[in-house]
Structures are given as structure tokens and as C-alpha cells.
């Protein structure tokens, strides 16, 4: 091995460095540096031409000074001169300097690029290597623009040396990562794939890294790499431990290359070719077998390298998810690691097993390790390992072991690290809900959660338990009894008071027959907590009290006394004061019939995705909550068995009023019926019923105290997936009780379709305008994501009240398009503009567009407007440039009749070439010039990005000027996409 310090030493540099090191103070160092800078400057400016050695030495000194943290403003030219030296050491220092101090000075860049070009063409492997390293180290877009076309040629040229090929592959990878648009795909790609067969393992390693990255974006182009990677892998795993010489690491043949090859294979589904598939299975079996063989070395390096390959092989097995035998073997192997003495292995085993748990083939096998995992939870000394154990328990949970797992998690929660408590709480809440056969178990679990980790129970969790209790009448009595008992603890968490207050307010009557929980006792129990609670909780309790007035007329006066007390009526908090005043008044003036109606039991909540799940997703990032769909399905069928009532649905009227039956009778000594409702006039009931949720929401909601009910309806942090109409009002109440129109979505506003079409090819503009309101849009899209800013402008001088925009997606659309937004301020001042941001994620291709419904009160009238929101499939286009030959080749590949969609239509606008071009570009595809033999025709290409897949699209538009007609042809790999794009684009011309 060469020693760097020897050989080409520069004495002057060494002296300078040791001077600097000997400086006693910062000042002395600066002084020494300034002296040196002056010296170098005079040398560079001097009349005498410097020789290469001196130039190199001074440039080196400058570099050293720069690295010490001082600015360097000269010497660049000398460094660039060194680039053209023919001596390696001089050239190397030149490259080192410009790699570190690259300057965007255009004059120099031209010179530098020129020098690099010369070196790349020099056929001297050392010089080529230096140039490639410099390009990669700088890695800027400018470098990519200048050299991205050149490097593939070097990479695949037959006479390129191995070391240069290696550098070229890595250099290209670097440029592709920073500026993929400058790296043209072409003939070279198929030749790069063949580098996997190269004799030199260094070349293979570099090529594998490059191909893996390229294949992720262009899977089609690199499909042939699968069989080559399999055969290379097979040769490696079957080689004797010394065959590969330098590439054997502690008796493991080429471990890093094996890992890379296994990664590359994870870009693709299992090979279709039976022979290739068989060979791969053999490889994977060999790797699994080797894990069982006695180690060839006792060194930890040996086992580490071997295990790295093993874990990657298991990842591939999980990715393919098709060979039950391999999956079970992988699971057993991981099971062994779960008990290994190396923490790293236990951690990785837990992590891999988590993904294995979601495969149908290995789920059962994973479950057999439950005891080990539970034990890990108790004994692991590393929080990140325990965290993995929690994740795995969550993943392996199903109906058969849910009770055990939830119990263990609750157990662990008592001692869990603070950093992961909230997540465990969410997981327990989800599992308890998902696998609840018996809802009394669910209620117990959640109350336990609040008891053990009340501070970590987020609002979503306790909202959810209320949602479920309200929607399931078989658990209401039990819930009331349980919260009542839990509240008797001398110190209970405020969240429990909230749940208790809410549930007793709704269902306290179900346990009032028992003298131990008589109305007065219930009330006194709740009121004993009142003074210890925060304002929002107190506000909620006040609502409970007014509900008690209705449920238990006999304690009405007691409650009125409380409401009337100075501490309520004159409370410093305006919200509490207002509630006390309003409730007191309500209890005094309203007849029992009115009270019974106004304070009726809350109607069932519309079913929608659990807000808890949304929260967990947000915490963990998308993609980590793997079995979302499943959870959603299960919950829909299990939890709310068909209870699809919305608050405004007339069926609310018909809600069973009967008390719970069966086992509950044993728990409570006889429920009391609710006070009967006014039922003299059907219509009156209907109207009043409609008003109830609104009215109650009015009581609950205010700026300072967001109400559970309002948030549960989907306006909170949860993604907006509900198609239910929005809760209408927050302000004046009694007017609303009789306004039938509220909460009904208006039909589309006139002109909405036309406006919608205008946004297909553009992203910004005015979507809707009438005398009152203007809606503007600004949006941007990247790959499968987008963000839309909606601006609502009040054109009048009067305030809009209860301003509520809602996004409505059909069920079908909801599954392909994920929209998230936050509610806007319900008041829009005259002349003001409010903004709402919608985050958009395209899951899969879709046909319809979401509806934006806006409701507000202007003066005395209720306004209700609906428009189509222009979120269309083509927004997720990424343009693709390609040559004529490529275009027609692909065009032919998509010749299946379902893949093509054609439309012949009359021109609606003047047929202007430039406008048409702009529209095609605005549509999102690339406009390909000089592709179609007929120059009058337009062709375009692009890729639609959705979360699940990417769909390549080709289009061709043929105008016929004489007939004033167009023929539009779309070819994509997916029928629905061809159809939708054709529809959208046909409207544009």
C-alpha cells in the first residue's frame, strides 16, 4: 500500500502546516495565514512564470487555508491551469481544488468543462478517473447538463478499462439522482444491463447500484436485468468461500454485491420465466441453508456479513410474497434471531417480522412467536427494540389473540417510555375497536387506557369511544355503569371526566334505576369533579347538566341552583358564562316537550374512517399502517353494523328508543325510559329533529372549546373522507331549527362544467363568481401529489356567517383520491378573502371530480353553492421526452384494443397550432416535435403517477382543417386511463 505522506512531498506545504499547528492563539494563526496569502498572491502575480510544482504547492496551501475556514478569492485560474498538466500529482491537486471550491463564475466553468472534456477523451484511465470523480463530487445541474450525455458512452464502450467503468457508473448514478432529466435513456440502457455479467466484480457492484436506481423509475427499460441478476447471484452464493478473492469478506463471498442484487430484484415482481424463477428460489434456499450451517469463522464480521445477505434475502421473499415455503422458513429463521444475544439481530428480526405478519402465508407462523415478542417487551433494555416489539404485536394481532395482545400492551403502557406512550395508546385503541367482539371489553379497555395513560390519550381516542357508544345501543348501559364506577376513584383523569360527562348526559337514565346511581348521585359525582377541570371540560359538563334536566326532572331545581350560582352566571370565562345563562334560561322557559326534543339523545354518527387511525398514520407517515384497507372494511361491517344514519337523515326520528336488553338487566336494576317526545305533528318532529344536531352543536361549539361532536364529523385533523353534509351552523340557533335547507348540498352551479373544463389545461384562475362570492384557485402538482389553494373572496360589504366549504367525494372517488384540508374561519368579513389549502394525493386513477360545496349566511338568506373542483387525472402527468423511433415502438406495444381510446369531434375553438400546442403542454404531457411524419399532427407522451402505479400514456391529435374536425387517439396501459384522458382532452379544442 502506498503511504500518502511519502513520495511526492511538498516541503513548503509541510512547513506551513506545522507553522499553523504551532500557533499559540487564533490571532497568531490569522497572522501567519495572511502572511502566506500575501506571499502566494505575489508569486501568482509575479512576472516569472511558475513551474507546475510551485503552482501545485501554492494551490495546495490555498486549499488548506480554505479548509481552515478562511475565504479564498484568488488562485482559481492557477488551479484550472493545473487541470491541463500531464503530471498526475498536479492534475489531481487541480481537481481537488475545483471540487472543493467550485465557483459559478461562467468564465472558469467553461475552462473547467473543457479540461474535463479533454480528460474524458484522453483514453488515459487515470485522467478519466479524475475527471469522473470531479463531475460526481460537484454533481451540480450544470455538470449534469454538460456531461450526462457523454458518460453513458464511456460506460458501455468496449475498450473502457474496468476502473473507469466503475467510476463512470457511479458518476452517472450521482448525476441521475440530482438531475434525472439530463440523463437520456436510450440504446445504452440495454448494454448497461449486461454489465451485470462483467468479469470484474467492482464493475458489477457499481452497475448494480446504477441499475437499481434507474429501474425504480423506468422498470420497463431494465426488465432484462432480472434474469442477469439472478444468474449473477446464483454464481456468487454457490461459489466457494475463496473463489472471489478480493471480494470475499471474512469467508462470505461478495456480501455487499449480493445485497445489492437482492435489492435490485425487489424492484420487480417474481420472475415470470419458470427457469429463472426456479434458479432464484434455489439461491434463496441456499442463503437460508447457509444460516443453519456452522460458521466458517468465529469472527463477528463473518456472521454480520452473512446476516446482511440473509436479511436482504428475507426482504425479497416478503416482497415476492408468493412462495409459502420460503415465507415460513424466513419466519422460522427470524424466530431464531428473536432470541439471539446480539441486540442488532433482535431488532432487525422484529422489524422484518412485522412485514412478514401481513402476508397471508406467514401470518400464522409469525403468531407462534407471540410469547417471545411479549417477553421482549418486558425484558429488552433498548427502547427502540421495544418499540419494534410493539409494532410487531400490533401487526400480528388478529381476532384470536387480540385480548392477550391488548392486555399485554396495556400492561407495558404502565412502565413504557414516555416517548412511545402516545403511539401505544393509539395502537391499543385501534386494536380494541377492530377486534371487539364484545363491546363491553372495548369500553373497559379504553377506560383502562385513560386510567393508565390519561395524559397520552389524545382527543381522537376519547371522541372515538363516544362515537362507538352512541352508535351501538347494546353497550350504552354498560358504558354508563362503567364510567360511573370509574368516576368514583378519588383522583381520575380529566379525559375520564369528559367521557363520563358525555356518556352520563346521554345515557345516565339507563342506570338511574339503581339507588346507588340515582340521578342526584350521578349529578353530585360529576359536579364534585367540576372545579378541578379545565374550561373546555367544564363547558362540556354544563351541557351534561342541561341534558340531566331533561333526563331527570326531579333534580331540575338542584341543577338550576348550580347554574344560577355566581360562579357560573358571573364566570370570568365568557363561554362558561354564556352556557350557564342559556341553559338556565332554556330550563326555565321551555316546556318538557320542547326540552325532550331539543335535548334528545345524539343521533348516530355517520360511519367514516377512524380519526385515531388517521392520527397514527400521520404519526408514522403514510405506508406504515399496512392493513388500513382491511381495518376499514372490518370496522364497517363490525362496529356499526349498518348504522348509516346521518344527523339529518329523517330516519333519526325512527331511532329505537327502547332501552338495552339482555345481560344489561343484570347489571342495572332497571333502566328508566327517556322522557317522551313531542309527537303530535310528524312534520314538526321532523323539522325539530333536523335542528337538534345543529342546535346542540351550537351549544358545544365555540372558538375556545371545540366540541367533540363537531370534530367527529370530520372537520378536525382527520382526513376529509366523509361525504356527509357538514354540520351547518355555529352561531344563531333557533333560526336554524326551522331552516330546512341547511345541510343539503345544492346542485352544481350553472356554468360550473364550463369552468371546470377550462382548468383541465391550467392550474390557476377563477373557478366561480357571482354577485356575492368569488372562488379563485392556485394549484401545483408533482408526481402523485398536489396542493390546491382555494381563495374565497367576499365581494359584498357585509359579513358572511357560518361560512362552511365542504369537499365531497363519492365513495368510489374517495378510494382513489385522498383530499385533506382544514376548516376555514366561519366568518368572512366584507371585502375579505379567506384561503383554504387542500392537500391532494392520487392513490389510483379516477374518473369523477370532487364537488366543492359552500354554504353560508348572507344577510338573512342562506346561500348554498356547489361547483366541481378541477382535480383531474391529467394533473398527475409527468412529461416524457422521447425520440420518434421510441415513440412508435411503444405505440405499437400498446396495440391492445382496450388500451386505445379514440374520439373524433368537431372543433369548438379556432384551430390555431400554437394554442393547441400550449394546451397539450398544459395538459401535462410532453409535446414531441418531429415525431409524427405529418407535421400538422401533434403527439405527446407522459406518465401518470398514482400512489399505486405509474401509467405510461401516448397521445396523438390529428386536426383536419377543412372539415374543422379533430381525431384524438390515446394509448395507455390502462383502459380507464385512456378513456378518462380522452374525455378530458376532447373538451379542450
Amino acid at each position: 500500500m502506498p503511504a500518502v505522506s511519502k513520495g511526492d512531498g511538498m516541503r513548503g506545504l509541510a512547513v506551513f502546516i506545522s507553522d499553523i499547528r504551532n500557533c499559540k492563539s487564533k490571532e497568531a494563526e490569522i497572522k501567519r495565514i495572511n502572511k502566506e496569502l500575501a506571499n502566494i498572491r505575489s508569486k501568482f502575480k509575479g512576472d516569472k512564470a511558475l513551474d507546475g510544482y510551485s503552482k501545485k504547492k501554492y494551490v495546495c496551501k490555498l486549499l488548506f487555508i480554505f479548509l481552515l475556514g478562511h475565504d479564498i478569492d484568488f488562485g482559481h485560474m492557477e488551479a484550472v491551469n493545473l487541470l491541463s498538466s500531464n503530471r498526475y500529482t498536479e492534475k489531481q491537486i487541480g481537481y481537488l481544488f475545483i471540487s472543493v471550491l467550485v465557483n459559478s463564475n461562467s468564465e472558469l466553468i467553461r475552462l473547467i468543462n473543457n479540461a474535463i472534456k479533454n480528460d474524458l477523451a484522453s483514453r488515459n484511465p487515470t485522467f478519466m478517473g479524475l475527471a469522473l470523480h470531479c463531475i460526481a463530487n460537484v454533481g451540480s445541474r450544470e455538470m449534469a447538463e454538460a456531461f450526462a450525455g457523454e458518460i453513458p458512452k464511456i460506460l458501455v464502450a468496449g475498450d473502457t478499462m474496468d476502473s473507469v467503468k466503475q467510476s463512470a457508473a457511479l458518476c452517472l448514478l450521482r448525476l441521475y439522482r440530482t438531475s434525472p432529466d439530463f440523463v437520456p435513456m436510450g440504446d445504452w440502457t440495454s448494454r448497461v444491463v449486461h454489465l451485470l455479467n462483467d468479469q470484474h466484480l467492482g464493475v458489477v457492484t457499481a452497475a448494480t447500484s446504477l441499475i437499481t436506481t434507474l429501474a425504480q423509475k423506468n422498470p420497463e427499460e431494465f426488465k432484462t436485468s432480472v434474469s442477469l441478476a439472478v444468474s449473477r447471484l446464483s454464481r456468487i452464493v454457490t461459489s466457494a468461500s475463496t473463489d472471489l478473492q478480493d471480494y470475499t469478506y471474512y469467508f462470505v463471498p461478495a456480501p455487499w454485491l449480493s445485497v445489492k442484487l437482492l435489492r435490485l430484484l425487489q424492484c420487480y415482481p417474481p420472475p415470470e420465466d419458470a427457469a429463472v424463477r426456479g434458479r432464484l428460489t434455489e439461491c434463496l434456499e441456499t442463503i437460508l441453508n447457509k444460516a443453519q450451517e456452522p460458521p466458517k469463522s468465529k469472527k463477528v464480521q463473518h456472521s454480520n456479513a452473512k446476516n446482511a445477505v440473509l436479511f436482504e434475502a428475507i426482504s425479497l421473499i416478503i416482497h415476492h410474497d408468493s412462495e409459502p415455503n420460503l415465507l415460513v422458513r424466513a419466519c422460522n429463521q427470524l424466530g431464531q434471531f428473536l432470541q439471539h444475544r446480539e441486540t442488532n439481530l433482535r431488532y432487525l428480526a422484529l422489524e422484518s417480522m412485522c412485514t412478514l405478519a401481513s402476508s397471508e402465508f406467514s401470518h400464522e407462523a409469525v403468531k407462534t412467536h407471540i410469547e417471545t415478542v411479549i417477553n421482549a417487551l418486558k425484558t429488552e433494555r433498548d427502547v427502540s427494540v421495544r418499540q419494534r416489539a410493539v409494532d410487531l404485536l400490533y401487526a400480528m394481532c388478529d381476532r384470536s389473540n387480540a385480548q392477550q395482545i391488548v392486555a399485554e400492551m396495556l400492561n407495558y403502557l404502565e412502565t413504557a417510555d414516555y416517548s412511545i406512550r402516545e403511539e401505544i395508546v393509539l395502537k391499543v385503541a385501534i386494536l380494541a375497536e377492530k377486534y371487539a367482539v364484545d363491546y363491553t371489553w372495548y369500553v373497559d379497555t379504553i377506560l383502562n387506557l385513560i386510567r393508565i395513560a390519561g395524559d397520552y390519550v389524545s382527543e381522537e381516542v376519547w371522541y372515538r369511544v363516544i362515537q362507538i357508544v352512541i352508535n351501538r345501543d347494546d353497550v350504552q348501559g354498560y358504558a354508563a355503569k362503567t364510567v360511573f364506577e370509574a368516576l368514583q376513584a378519588p383522583a381520575c383523569h380529566e379525559n375520564l371526566v369528559k367521557v363520563g360527562g358525555y356518556i352520563l348526559g346521554e345515557f345516565g337514565n339507563l342506570i338511574a334505576g339503581d339507588p346507588r346511581s340515582s340521578p342526584l348521585i350521578q349529578f353530585n359525582l360529576l359536579h364534585s369533579k367540576f372545579h378541578l377541570c379545565s374550561v373546555p371540560t367544564r363547558a362540556l359538563l354544563l351541557s351534561t347538566y342541561i341534558k340531566f334536566v331533561n333526563l331527570f326532572p326531579e333534580i331540575k331545581t338542584t341543577i338550576q341552583d348550580v347554574l344560577r350560582s355566581d360562579s357560573q352566571l358571573k364566570n370570568a370565562d365568557v363561554e362558561l358564562q354564556q352556557r350557564a345563562v342559556e341553559y338556565l334560561r332554556l330550563s326555565t322557559i321551555a316546556s318538557t316537550d320542547i326540552l325532550a326534543t331539543v335535548l334528545e339523545e345524539m343521533p348516530p354518527f355517520p360511519e367514516r374512517e377512524s380519526s385515531i387511525l388517521a392520527k397514527l398514520k400521520k404519526k408514522k407517515g403514510p405506508g406504515t399502517v399496512t392493513d388500513l384497507e382491511e381495518i376499514k372494511k372490518e370496522r364497517n361491517s363490525d362496529v356499526n353494523g349498518g348504522a348509516e344514519c346521518t344527523p339529518v337523515n329523517a330516519s333519526t326520528v325512527a331511532l329505537p328508543d327502547s332501552p338495552p336488553q339482555g345481560s344489561l338487566a343484570e347489571l342495572v336494576t332497571g333502566p328508566r325510559p327517556r322522557p317522551s317526545r313531542l309527537n303530535s305533528s310528524r312534520l314538526a318532529i321532523h323539522n325539530l329533529q333536523t335542528g337538534v344536531p345543529c342546535l346542540f352543536k351550537g351549544f358545544f361549539t365555540s372558538e375556545s372549546t371545540p366540541s367533540p361532536s363537531a370534530d367527529l364529523l370530520g372537520l378536525g385533523a382527520a382526513p376529509l373522507t366523509s361525504s356527509a353534509p357538514p354540520p351547518s351552523s355555529t352561531g344563531s340557533l333557533l333560526v336554524d331549527v326551522f331552516s330546512d335547507s341547511a345541510s343539503v348540498v345544492a346542485p352544481l352551479a350553472p356554468g360550473s362544467e364550463d369552468n371546470f373544463a377550462r382548468f383541465v389545461c391550467k392550474n390557476n384562475g377563477v373557478l366561480f363568481e357571482n354577485q356575492l362570492l368569488q372562488i379563485g384557485l392556485k394549484s401545483e402538482f408533482r408526481q402523485n401529489l398536489g396542493r390546491m389553494f382555494i381563495f374565497y373572496g367576499n365581494k359584498t360589504s357585509t359579513q358572511f356567517l357560518n361560512f362552511t366549504p365542504t369537499l365531497i367525494c363519492s365513495d368510489e372517488l374517495q378510494s382513489s383520491l385522498n383530499l385533506q384540508t382544514k376548516p376555514v374561519d366561519p366568518t368572512v368579513d366584507g371585502g375579505a378573502q379567506v384561503q383554504q389549502v387542500v392537500n391532494i394525493e392520487c392513490i389510483s386513477d379516477f374518473m369523477e371530480a370532487p364537488i366543492l360545496n359552500i354554504q353560508f349566511r348572507y344577510g338573512g338568506t342562506f346561500q348554498n353553492i356547489s361547483v366541481k373542483l378541477p382535480i383531474t387525472l391529467n394533473k398527475f402527468f409527468q412529461p416524457t421526452e422521447m425520440a420518434s423511433q421510441d415513440f412508435f415502438q411503444r405505440w405499437k406495444q400498446l396495440s391492445n384494443p382496450q388500451q386505445e381510446m379514440q374520439n373524433i369531434f368537431k372543433a369548438k375553438h379556432p384551430m390555431d397550432t400554437e394554442i393547441t400546442k400550449a394546451k397539450i403542454i398544459g395538459f401535462g404531457s410532453a409535446l414531441l416535435e418531429e415525431v409524427d411524419p405529418n407535421p400538422a399532427n401533434f403527439v405527446g407522451a407522459g406518465i401518470i403517477h398514482t400512489k399505486t402505479t405509474q401509467i405510461g400514456c401516448l397521445l396523438r391529435l390529428e386536426p383536419n382543417l377543412q372539415a374543422q374536425m379533430y381525431r384524438l387517439t390515446l394509448r395507455t396501459s390502462k383502459e380507464t386511463v385512456s378513456q378518462r384522458l380522452c374525455e378530458l382532452l376532447s373538451e379542450q379544442f
Binding site: M1, A3, V4, I20, R21, K26, E29, L67, L68, G69, R177, T178, T213, Y249, P255, W256, V259, R263, Q301, N304, A305, N307, A308, V309, F311, E312, S315, T343, N344, R346, Y347, L348, R381, D382, S384, V385, G621
Partner: protein, 123 residues
């Protein structure tokens, strides 16, 4: 992919840093400080992988020197863990003994590798 590669001493000073993705200089300092804090606070029984923001840290300790690699989900933790060791062996072989003065002062505002006095520990 590998996002960055750090060599840090026990005092928390960065000795070498290499970024494979652009990170602004002032953010690097903050990132390094946090990364180091995370590694230094761990005991020998804890595993060598730490989830940190949206990537993972893989680290190894050689006497007073920590080597920390930031990776994303496309890398194999174990392979990177062993790569660190391979890297150390190469350095050791190449420089035979890594020596120099402890240029703590010069390391303050720079990216220069300053070598630890005791050299690489043998294992």
C-alpha cells in the same frame, strides 16, 4: 441510499463529514449535533440502529471515535453496519497507523479530517 457519513469523537466534534445529498451548511451543524447527541447517549446493550426523523442512523464505536452513517429505507442496516467496519479496515491498512496531532482547533469550522492520536483500535 446513504445520505451522509460522519466521523465524530467522544467530545462530539465532527472529524469528517461527507454528504451525498445537498444539505445547507448551517443545517449540517445542527444535524450533526443532534445525530451525535443521539449516538453518544446510548449504551453498549442498545442496538446500533436509530430511527431519526425520516431516516435511520447506523453507528459503530471505535475507542473514542464514532462513525455514523445516515441511510434511508432502501439500504440494508446490517450491510451498512459491516461496511463501516470494512471502511475502517481499509483506512487502517492504507495509513497503517492513523496519526497526527489532535488538531482540535483547526477542526472547529471545517470539514478536515483530523486524526485521533491513539489511532484505530485493533479489534
Amino acid at each position: 441510499m446513504i445520505k451522509f457519513f460522519l466521523m465524530v469523537n467522544k467530545q462530539g466534534q465532527t472529524r469528517l463529514s461527507r454528504y451525498y445529498e445537498h444539505v445547507e451548511i448551517h443545517k449540517r451543524t445542527m444535524l450533526e449535533a443532534e445525530v451525535i447527541k443521539n449516538c453518544l447517549s446510548r449504551s453498549k446493550e442498545q442496538c446500533s440502529f436509530i430511527e431519526y426523523k425520516d431516516f435511520k442512523l447506523v453507528y459503530r464505536q471505535y475507542a473514542a471515535l464514532f462513525i455514523v452513517v445516515g441511510i434511508n429505507e432502501t439500504e440494508n442496516e446490517m450491510a451498512v453496519y459491516e461496511l463501516i467496519h470494512n471502511f475502517v479496515e481499509v483506512l487502517d491498512r492504507y495509513f497503517s497507523r492513523v496519526i497526527s496531532s489532535n488538531g482540535a482547533r483547526s477542526g472547529e469550522s471545517t470539514n478536515v479530517p483530523s486524526h485521533s492520536e491513539q489511532g484505530w483500535t485493533k479489534y
